[in-house]
């Protein structure tokens, strides 16, 4: 098993930390992982993205141009990465702020209305975990047990009290998953 994922959105949406939690959970589950962030001027305000690879084998390139899965959180990232999903692959996006919806017919596309839900129930900081829930519903890359361990490893100790809320946000994301175009 090798899963090659791009997560892309605005800086501040929790793109890098979503990837980090996924990567840490993978490590806890004894997988090979790679987490490659965009670290350019774009991260100082503007778009941000991270490539996460989880595999049972030694990982080749940490930098890729074709992905099994794309999690897209803004229009700029949609414009950039919709075309980078492998045929038959998966695209999950938050429709909030998206003006041109994806048009690919050779991939599976799902919506997770994370922004709206997060502000509705007042957990905007957990937006990224809602989106992660959408992914884990379709691709159970890590189990809840290891996700908890991953959160413990990636969050500073003072925030460990928030882990149950993070797990709850993942569950909310799983329920929000809405098929947009399914093969």
């Amino acid at each position: 098993m090798t899963e090659e994922i791009i997560i892309a959105g605005f800086g501040g949406q929790g793109v890098l930390s979503m990837g980090k939690i996924l990567a840490y959970s993978g490590v806890m589950q004894n997988k090979e992982v790679s987490w490659m962030p965009s670290y350019g001027p774009e991260m100082r305000g503007g778009t941000s993205n991270v490539t996460v690879i989880i595999s049972d084998e030694r990982i080749s390139s940490p930098c890729l141009n074709q992905f099994d899965t794309a999690i897209i959180l803004n229009q700029q990232s949609m414009d950039k990465f919709e075309k980078s999903v492998k045929p038959g692959g998966l695209l999950i996006y938050d429709p909030n702020g998206i003006t041109s919806h994806p048009t690919r017919k050779d991939i599976n596309i799902y919506q997770v209305a994370g922004t709206d839900k997060a502000s509705e129930i007042g957990i905007s900081k957990l937006f990224n975990m809602i989106m992660l829930g959408g992914l884990l519903k379709l691709k159970p890359l890590v189990t809840e047990e290891f996700l908890k361990k991953g959160l413990e490893k990636s969050l500073p100790t003072r925030h460990h009290g928030l882990i149950p809320e993070n797990i709850k946000a993942v569950e909310i994301g799983k329920q929000l998953l809405n098929p947009y175009h399914v093969l």
């Binding site: 992982v33 390139s61 930098c63 074709q66």
Partner: protein
């Protein structure tokens, strides 16, 4: 006890320095390697192992602090990225001339000039063909994973002290920024003054009644003496070339085409191997781990049996010269690269491979 961590390549460099008993780090922040100094400041080794961590006023100061620390037999290092490494070239030449051990890490970014903060491999020539003045060589290690970033710190110090010469870890923004699993070692104690004085008799540890003063210098105004130093250096470099070549090969056994790439490019090329083999193209990869001394012999042995060779580098074609020398131009060698901070995609490299 060994411990499994998820770390950035830059953090692995810093963690390895602390754990292998490094005595001093002197550096000045620059992207994409600032996490090295940040990690050291966070870990505060000066409170535990006594390792000095100092943000110098400039890169020129950093390398000269390393020169000073190395003179007294301490395990000292500095790190920077391309523009900062350019400023250190004079110091590297002096340290080579004075035959001192030191570890320098270059997390390369795109150039020339102030360039870009994105990854690049454009400092190959600077590192292995000179950089500073005079007939010296830099033992150069090119890690391709976070684990190697970690491992090469101790290896680098070992080689530096074995040969009394500066060692360069040549990496880039990809391996510096990527997070991967890394197994970290136990903390090793720093060397005591007694150990240094006994093991490294050249170190300026203070004159004793049993020996003459140790003088650290690279200045010999008498030409015969300077020629003697050069002969000593060249003899040493010959031993390094005979003993320290490191490389890794991938699927060369049945290959008809060969990729040669180091560091992050070698990681991207491993993906190219998967894509090419899925299309039935028989291609192998040689990854030089030491860039000097260069794995000329294996590239000759494998390369001369090939229909064509592609040297893949994130520059305009630098290492390709060493590949061509290795195969004595008996087979066609082409270069593929992107520069200025652009990372080539596996698909682009595959397309270039198909033109061989």
């Amino acid at each position: 006890m060994k411990e499994l961590r998820l770390m950035k390549g830059n953090e692995a460099i810093a963690e390895a320095a602390i754990r292998c008993g490094c005595d001093g780090y002197f550096g000045y922040p620059i992207t994409p390697q600032s996490e090295i100094l940040e990690h050291l400041m966070k870990e505060k080794p000066y409170e535990n192992t006594g390792m000095v961590v100092l943000q110098a006023e400039s890169e020129v100061a950093s390398i000269n602090m390393v020169y000073g620390g190395a003179s007294v037999g301490k395990k000292v290092m500095t790190t920077s990225s391309s523009p900062g490494i350019s400023l250190m070239q004079e110091g590297l030449s002096y340290i080579s001339g004075a035959e001192l051990p030191a570890l320098v890490v270059n997390v390369v970014r795109g150039g020339p000039g102030l360039g870009t903060i994105q990854p690049s491999q454009a400092d190959y020539f600077q590192t292995v063909k000179g950089g500073g003045h005079g007939d010296y060589r830099l033992i150069t290690l090119a890690p391709a994973s976070v684990q190697e970033m970690y491992d090469f710190v101790e290896l680098g110090f070992d080689l530096a002290f074995k040969y009394r010469a500066p060692v360069m870890i040549l990496t880039d923004g990809i391996i510096g920024q990527v997070m991967e699993k890394v197994v970290v070692d136990d903390y090793k104690p720093r060397w005591t003054e007694e150990y240094i004085a006994k093991t490294y008799p050249w170190a300026a540890t203070g004159k004793t009644k049993l020996r003459e003063r140790n003088i650290v210098t690279s200045l010999y105004l008498e030409s015969a003496r300077q020629e003697q130093l050069n002969k000593t250096l060249q003899a040493k470099y010959k031993v390094v070339e005979e003993n320290e070549i490191r490389y890794e090969t991938f699927q060369c056994e049945d290959a008809e085409y060969l990729l040669v790439a180091y560091g992050s490019s070698a990681r991207i090329c491993q993906k190219v191997l998967q894509l090419a083999r899925a299309e039935g193209i028989k291609v192998g990869l040689i990854r030089p781990i030491t860039l000097w001394p260069y794995p000329t012999k294996i590239i000759h042995e494998v390369g001369t049996k090939m229909k064509g060779i592609l040297s893949v580098e994130m520059n305009a074609g630098q290492m390709i010269e060493d590949v061509k020398l290795a195969v004595e131009c008996k087979v066609p060698v082409k270069h593929y690269g992107r520069f200025g901070g652009i990372v080539p995609t596996p698909s682009e490299i595959l397309d270039a491979l198909k033109t061989l």
